[in-house]
Symmetry: C2
Subunit: 190 residues, 2 copies
Amino acid sequence: MKRKTRKEILYEEAAQLFMEKGYPASSVRELADRVGIEPSSIYSHVKSKEELLVKICMDTAYYFSEGMNEIETSDKNPIESIHILIDLHINAVRVLPASVTVFTDEWKHLPANAKAEFIDIRNKYQGQWLHILQEGIKQGQLKEVNPMVMRDTILSSLRWVHYISDKKDLKKLKRTSAEIKSLLLEGIQA
Amino acid sequence: MKRKTRKEILYEEAAQLFMEKGYPASSVRELADRVGIEPSSIYSHVKSKEELLVKICMDTAYYFSEGMNEIETSDKNPIESIHILIDLHINAVRVLPASVTVFTDEWKHLPANAKAEFIDIRNKYQGQWLHILQEGIKQGQLKEVNPMVMRDTILSSLRWVHYISDKKDLKKLKRTSAEIKSLLLEGIQA
DNA sequence: GTCTATAACTTGATAGAC
DNA sequence: GTCTATCAAGTTATAGAC
């Protein structure tokens, strides 16, 4: 386990703060307070408060898009791909819960440039999801339903996992993960 | 159709603004601009910016809790109840899309008193969901899965419906609603 | 890299004329 | 009920000493 640099700590505390209060309601003063330095010292490490948001959101966006690209270049079938993608989400929440929450809830506060890039990445990711689902429908593995409704239902249903309490409890997380997959693939009915 | 009072217009515009920018990033100045009056005139209608948030969140919270209470006092079986509750969500999005979004995303910015009340209502609502699902599991209609995971997956999956584009197109909305129910009850697999 | 001091600005809200 | 004028407080960010 590598020792964390001050800058890394800063990003982690920023993600935590932005998650708790939302980006606009988070002040540089409070962030400094949590890190244990004076507000102005923040600017020895980052150019602006916005820079923190940009890095948190973009790193997470690239995490998801890279995971998706790996699937695309493999030859997994749609059902296998869906399993891997759900694991990707749950694993992200396990490793970087605050970043994922900020990525999900605060991206709209990104500055124009970063926001455009973010939306591009997201659109591509969602397009890749769509393609997988369409393929699954065509192959008869997935139900004949509007694939966009299917995709948005899946992605939305994965959003609450930020709030799983015991993210360190790997065994419990694995069980929850299996249950979520079962619910999405086979539904809630017995 | 009753003519809207200035105050009603103010609440609607506030909900719209809070949805677009988030509550902390929304300024009284911009709200006044959208309504077409000077910032100070806002205070002839409401006591504070917070009051707007409180009313938007609480009205929506009571809409859901009342819908749930009606189900509880009826004698619907679990599956019927779930259908009605999903309809309740989709209908809310149809009628008051901005309010539902603010209710979902901005409640954490409520002042302490209102927030406590909000959380109470939400906890009760979620508890009632849990009870319905537990009953469904006991009766063998629902799958043997952690009912909290089941509930959170369902509620989370309903959150994206704010973003349905054609909320006025009743026919399309009805089709989407049927598809969502099918996905949740029977899963995405064919 | 951290500090103190402060600039430059935006915020929610009020006072008082009309 | 709406306006103009303004306040008090909070914001991000910078300058310059150490």
